[in-house]
């Protein structure tokens, strides 16, 4: 017994070996820190250069200023582009969420002929490269002599958002416990009441998540927008076009502000969710 205790306490591991062991044990955590650094380098860069006293072209560090944050619409066009992106994002999210949720309920809740074809039709837009989708839609609009612009862009965004909404909501429906609905029926709720009072509230977080996803996909889309927006400028398009002559620091301000806004929303959402679960 005493011998054993001695063995357990006495061994002095050389410091080098201990460091080595620590690294071995934490290797994957160290790795994760590097990976996150890689992910955040350009975000940090964008944020840092939002404080650059740069004038028109935000290429070289010229000194610290808060001016860009005080006057985010200071650069021509940047705020109208942002406004267009937000409008398009809301409209596309609204329609894609409704259409996609209906499809998700049909596929997730019913057995019917053509179900696998429906799944394929949902998968296809996700498997189509954006450039093909954007180009094909543009040629359709051209055939019908519809000028590219605001509504064609909204339509294009709905097309690529629907599939993501369906997949997200369907996953939520699949994770529901069917006994909850059976219980509602047992308590004499009819089909509609069960849906409204039990199913829908349970699926709601999935729908909210899908809407958030749709908005961020729409807001950040460039390729499909570029094909169908004509002379209309969205925020990503504004950045792409001004990239050649230098992006005004106000674009960095808006990009960084979006980042912090969305991050706050997500974290608050998670905290609220956690409280609910408790």
């Amino acid at each position: 017994m005493t011998q054993k205790l001695k063995d357990a306490t006495i061994p002095t591991i050389p410091i080098g070996a201990r460091i080595q062991r620590w690294i071995g044990r934490n290797l994957i955590r160290i790795y994760a820190i590097f990976a996150f650094t890689y992910l955040f380098i350009p975000v940090a860069y964008t944020f840092a250069f939002s404080f650059n006293d740069s004038g028109k072209s935000n290429l070289i560090w010229k000194g610290f200023t808060l001016g860009n944050w005080q006057n985010p619409c200071g650069a021509p066009e940047v705020c109208s582009a942002l406004g267009n992106s937000i409008k398009i994002g809301f409209l596309a999210t609204f329609f894609a969420t409704i259409l996609g949720t209906m499809i998700a309920f049909a596929i997730g809740r019913h057995k019917f002929r053509g179900r696998s074809t429906s799944n394929l039709l949902i998968f296809l837009p996700m498997a189509t490269p954006e450039i093909v989708m954007g180009a094909s839609l543009l040629s359709l609009f051209l055939v019908f002599k519809i000028n590219p612009g605001f509504w064609p862009t909204v339509i294009a965004h709905i097309v690529f958002c629907i599939s993501f909404v369906v997949v997200t909501v369907k996953a939520r429906i699949a994770s529901l416990d069917p006994r909850l609905e059976q219980a509602a029926m047992d308590l004499y709720a009819n089909e509609f009441e069960t849906f409204r009072r039990v199913t829908l509230p349970l699926v709601a977080p999935g729908i909210a998540g899908a809407a958030l996803l749709a908005f961020s996909l729409s807001f950040d889309d460039f390729i499909i927008t570029n094909f169908n927006s004509g002379t209309l400028t969205t925020f990503p398009k504004f950045i792409y076009v001004s990239a050649a002559r230098g992006i005004p620091a106000q674009a960095n301000v808006i990009g960084s502000a979006m980042f912090f806004l969305a991050l706050t929303l997500v974290i608050v959402g998670q905290l609220v969710n956690r409280r609910k679960v408790r």
Partner: protein, 282 residues
């Protein structure tokens, strides 16, 4: 009666929309791809002639960009997989109570426009950035080596931009693995590597397949990274399609190229799914 009709009524508006604005355009694109220019007509005037040789011409003229698109996309996908797998593993098994926070952090860069981030890379890797002079003074790269406007920059940009698409599905399937299966493997005298190869990896295969597809498909059709981070010699198929549409107004060639790209992607993806052997994708 009502039972049978409900799913179809639910599907009708969404599928009507998808048919009109996704299927019809693709059919129309197929038509456009075999048109020829009206002789003596204005720029952008084309007539239906069922000229399938458009495909041959389009392919022969752009086979370099075609090969490059797939080469870059495959390298970027492999790199993203290599970077994302350990990251997803760390989040799933080693992050404890910070799991949700770390997941948010994986998606967070998305919230800054991807164009801004790509341009940030251009400036970080550029001559005025701090990276290139530092690497030069350390002798890691030679004085004449540049990082931006290279195929390296394009592939790196693609890897970076699609990394979250790879990480999330990987995380989803690794997180589902019961840690006890890994312990059991250890109890049966498998070492770490064997456990990974025989237990972890096979169980995470659905995530690997979903992640590689979500990365490869947009990467193969991408032209933004090549346009911002590349040079004329790193042009991909997307760049050609874009310029055929907007600068040259050559719709048939652009359509033929789009179709070839889509067909090639679908064939590759089908082969890959067969090989990887997972049915559950969507």
């Amino acid at each position: 009666m009502g039972k049978n009709r409900t799913p179809y009524l639910l599907l009708l508006p969404g599928f009507g929309f998808l048919f009109t604005f996704f299927i019809l355009p693709i059919i129309n694109l197929a038509q456009t791809s075999t048109q020829t220019r009206v002789s003596g007509g204005d720029t952008g005037q084309y007539e239906q002639t069922l000229r399938f040789a458009n495909y041959v011409d389009a392919f022969v003229d752009n086979k370099e960009q075609f090969g490059r698109s797939f080469l870059y996309a495959i390298i970027a996908t492999v790199l993203a997989l290599a970077i994302a797998y350990p990251l997803a593993y760390a989040i799933a098994f080693k992050s404890g109570k910070y799991k949700n926070l770390l997941l948010v952090l994986v998606v967070a860069p998305f919230f800054t426009s991807f164009l801004l981030r790509t341009i940030a890379w251009k400036q970080i890797l550029g001559e005025e950035g701090f990276l290139v002079p530092t690497l030069r003074s350390l002798g890691i790269i030679s004085q004449s080596t540049t990082l931006t406007s290279t195929s390296f920059a394009v592939v790196m940009g693609m890897t970076y931009n699609f990394l979250p698409f790879m990480t999330l599905p990987l995380y989803a399937s690794i997180d589902r693995i019961d840690p006890r299966t890994l312990e059991a493997s250890g109890d049966l005298y498998a070492n770490g590597l064997t456990t990974f190869r025989r237990v972890t990896l096979p169980l995470s295969m659905p995530g690997v397949v979903a992640g590689t597809l979500l990365t490869f498909i947009p990467a193969a059709g991408d032209y933004v990274n090549a346009a911002i981070l590349g040079n004329p010699n790193t042009k991909m198929l997307g760049n050609v399609i874009e310029s055929r549409y907007f600068k040259i107004v050559d719709y048939p060639t652009a359509a033929a190229l789009s179709f070839t790209l889509m067909a090639a992607i679908l064939i590759l993806v089908t082969l890959y799914i067969r090989k990887a052997g997972t049915e559950e994708l969507v």
